[in-house]
Symmetry: C2
């Protein structure tokens, strides 16, 4: 059911234009997956995400498992029906959420024992359990349970962790029972190049539908992130989709695309929007600033998003200052539209041979 | 510019079907005005309010004055442009908000001295000032500054208050400088029938484009509310629109329509939605209840609102429990759709002669 095809490769970088086919439709790559943490991209309906041009979203299996429960979602006809989204869905296995949300967790040979961040109840995520959850949700792309150790971790710890992640990856694959979905392995190894090599090699040997690079963007400096991403990608099969987990400033995305990454997910556009920080092609704009109080212009002149077509900076600032929830939606629509256009720009420029210029232009906005 | 026409009168009640014409278009009456407190009906865009079928909204002049400021809105092209709503807008003068929001206020002969609930700054609302604010906003229906004394108040206090409100109403009318808008007087007098009579008589003598019944629904029992509404309406000109301020449970609306009320505003549908309480034709539904956790049905079977066409009770309950802001919008859309249908039902039944049956049906839902 799951296929990946490379349509075109950039001549001077490792960027590639691709097409991923799933049971719920096609995804043009490089693709950005808006994060629908709890089965909604915060403040938006599924229809709005689709209207923005996104072809795939990512949901948190950890959250769905705890609330409303994967069996509940299954009984209601699966996650697609539950949230009224008919296009592809990816889920992470929950390993990262256990790392970031659960205060008490214990890594054991058979899995991760943790306490729910909601009610403190104890749960065990095994590789098989995580597949069971994701299959019950009925998603198109599942992720293997992995351990995501904090940064910094010692090389010794990380070595054991990679061994565990490999073992779990194998068990994950063995647990998979449906044929209408796909399973990605997650490369770990922290900032240790040799361990990344080992992890990538072992996962490739097991064989997955796609490969994710995990455990980055958690505290290491950006140069290291890029270096590890590049060396890891080099060791992954070229004919499978590669997914850089959790990283997604615009300059990160174009840079990673130039290294051969096909898929992204990141809370930056949506979280920034809720904090009132907006992306524009001239850099960021902070809507609550007093300078916008009487500014009748849209967030960005010429932007064709719903918000910019209709509302002024002054109105948006007013809503933001007055804590009106409408503003969360309007700002999120703008930022995700920006990301949707960014990804279209990436794909179009790879297609037309102009990607290196596009890359330089977006990179030059970094930090602005 | 402002006209009101009665198209049909019910034979067995005082209900009437009307048409109010303003500079920004026509309003079919009886009409419900969603409350856009701070220039947004909480969680909804102006486009959504229009799509729901509403022809007029009410905004709080008090809030607009304090934030973002009526002069700011004026500079930005007026309130219609500011919030991107091209149909009629009514504003209250601010008297009620001063009563309900400001802890320190002093009623003086020339106006109301109060402290902002936002920053404690001191402000004086005079009748002229309130007209100035509302004219700067550029709204279609303005209200005179009135005093809204708390319930209960003594007859002696209320008598003075009515005298003040009459004096202010006169000054309000004298301050009006635009011809493209309209001004309504507000009948006060608490639960004292003679004072209501006095107030209605004096306002009618001054002469307004429409008349509001204020100071009800603030603690007196429901029978009293209905009794005072009915006797007050009896003393108001039949050929002008009558607006019952702030009252709006469905059974209140139909009952007041049967007495001859043409306009309503109320936060109940929107506030209830945000609290997870939904109107249906079988009574209320509380979405957070555990019984809906696995309920795949819409809020109301057969309801054609956006939310009911697309989402299940189980999904809405999940969003509500998970505190996802999307749910505020989805539930508000449902409740306002219910109100929009209610008003259509009222108008259609007056038109077809079936209003008495409609009245009984809706009244029988009271309290459910």
């Amino acid at each position: 059911m799951f296929t990946f095809e490379i349509l075109k490769s950039d001549e001077s970088t490792d960027a590639r234009l691709g097409k991923m086919t799933t049971a719920h439709g096609v995804v043009d790559t490089p693709a950005f997956m808006p994060v629908a943490t709890q089965a909604t991209v915060k403040s938006l309906s599924s229809e709005e995400i689709q209207d923005l041009g996104f072809e795939i979203i990512i949901v948190n299996a950890y959250h769905m498992y705890l609330r409303p429960g994967h069996r509940t979602v299954e009984k209601l006809g699966g996650l697609h029906k539950f949230m009224s989204w008919n296009k592809p869905i990816a889920t992470d296995s929950g390993g990262y959420q256990v790392f970031s949300l659960s205060k008490t967790r214990k890594i054991k040979n058979e899995g991760i024992l943790f306490r729910s961040h909601l009610d403190g109840s104890e749960h065990l995520f095994t590789p098989a359990k995580c597949i069971e959850i994701q299959e019950a949700l009925g998603v198109d792309i599942m992720m293997c349970l992995d351990e995501c150790p904090p940064y910094p971790s010692t090389e010794e710890y990380m070595k054991k962790s990679v061994e565990l992640t490999t073992r779990w990856a194998k068990l994950s694959k063995e647990s998979k029972s449906r044929t209408d979905n796909s399973l990605f392995g997650i490369v770990q190894g922290g900032v240790f190049d040799e361990l990344r090599e080992k992890s990538a090699g072992e996962l490739t040997e097991i064989g997955f539908d796609g490969y994710a690079v995990g455990g980055l963007g958690i505290g290491e400096d950006q140069e290291k992130t890029y270096e590890i991403t590049e060396s890891t990608l080099f060791r992954l099969p070229k004919d499978k989709p590669r997914y850089l987990m959790g990283l997604g400033k615009p300059e990160d995305i174009v840079t990673a695309v130039s290294m051969g990454v096909d898929m992204f997910d990141c809370v930056i556009p949506t979280r920034n929007a809720r904090n009132g920080t907006l992306f524009t092609s001239n850099g960021k704009l902070v809507i609550k600033n007093a300078q916008f109080a009487q500014d009748g212009r849209p967030i960005e002149e010429g932007c064709e998003c719903y918000t910019c077509r209709i509302f002024s900076r002054a109105y948006l600032r007013h809503l933001y200052i007055a804590k009106e929830t409408l503003v969360l939606r309007l700002l999120t629509l703008h930022n995700l539209f920006f990301y949707s256009e960014l990804m279209k720009g990436i794909r179009d420029s790879i297609d037309s041979g102009d990607f290196p210029n596009f890359l330089t232009r977006v990179q030059s906005l970094g930090g602005k």
